[in-house]
Symmetry: C2
Subunit: 213 residues, 2 copies
């Protein structure tokens, strides 16, 4: 059972998902495919930019993340730097990581620095320190992430996201179904298991997946 996790480093709510999805999916018996794409390109194309020139909604977003983070055992320093100047490069590195098998580790490391140490993702010192932390040579990775091949792969993934009906991040794709938002991760896992939402998953009294250990 596979759940496609479409994300962009640069998306704020994706912080909550990036830090918990592997635990939650494992408890649900699902495998996660990490799919980086360029959400900014999609949102500009679709006239659906969420926070720019919307100060009230942006302030709410930070407060909403702040209230929800403790539920997942997270302690972000908010607001994090936003928007990211190097969103595209951050996701080129993730694209290379998806090819080479370290996308999840890199994405968690760079989000932690972005949200917990105030260092923008996709640029120094976040970039090299995150790569070094997961055992990679930053110089090599940065060179490979800058090649036209990786640029093209990220663009292809972004086109594929749009074909699937993905319009924001984080999104989860299960078969033909798209689920948008960190708050829909449990819905997506319900769908992966039984092709419908589980009435028992929301509002109940038990501990959430990922927090039971």
């Amino acid at each position: 059972m596979v759940i496609e996790f479409w994300f962009s480093i640069g998306s704020t709510y994706s912080y909550l998902t990036v830090m918990r999805i592997e635990d939650v999916a494992q408890e649900a018996g699902a495998e996660v495919r990490w799919r980086p794409f360029d959400v900014r390109h999609v949102m500009v194309t679709q006239n659906n930019v969420p926070f720019k020139d919307k100060p009230v909604k942006a302030a709410y977003m930070w407060r909403d993340i702040e209230r929800r983070a403790p539920r997942y055992g997270l302690s972000p320093r908010l607001p994090a730097p936003y928007p990211l100047a190097e969103l595209v490069f951050a996701n080129r590195v993730a694209t290379l990581g998806a090819q080479q098998g370290w996308v999840a580790d890199y994405t968690r490391a760079t989000y932690r620095r972005w949200f917990e140490a105030g260092q923008p993702a996709g640029e120094e010192p976040n970039l090299s320190e995150s790569l070094a932390e997961i055992g990679l040579d930053p110089e090599t990775v940065i060179r490979e992430a800058g090649t036209p091949d990786i640029e093209a792969r990220l663009q292809e993934a972004t086109a594929e996201a749009m074909d699937l009906g993905v319009f924001g991040a984080p999104s989860f794709v299960v078969g033909e179904e798209v689920f948008w938002g960190d708050d829909r991760l449990e819905d997506a896992l319900d769908w992966a298991r039984r092709g419908r939402l589980d009435q028992a998953r929301h509002g109940g009294g038990a501990r959430p997946p990922g927090l039971s250990r």
Copy 2:
């Protein structure tokens, strides 16, 4: 313990909330204050119109509601007519209902016709049939809802919503905290009870409030 429920008849996700909030709040020991306002005015003012000229996001919204409705025992006929031509008048009637004590009954009745019978709220036959169903004289109510006093009260409520930081519907206000979206109702009730989110409320295995009877 009071939770302010800021809604606009015309908001699609509010269907899910309108039909369940009294049950869910009762189980949580909270009292609901129904606060109609003109969300369209707020969204236009704040450059935050959610679905117009955003067909991918709009299609997702209908599918998301369709998937979630069975969780609350609801069977809508989707998509419902949207947007509502008579959004403002529908909410003037709700404003009068808030004064006179029948706002919840009217709002449920008119949403049921809108989402389950395909009749737009705020106009005939939905308007008179919803009012008659809850024991009111439609002609009298429609005349009173058209007075400058009610027009002013709806505008005042809309200004109050913006002062509170409400930017969309449905929203829940608990003290100084704003929670936006049907999917934040449980968060708002957590906050009302203990001033933080309950880690146990999401993703667990028990039945949700409002579905246990």
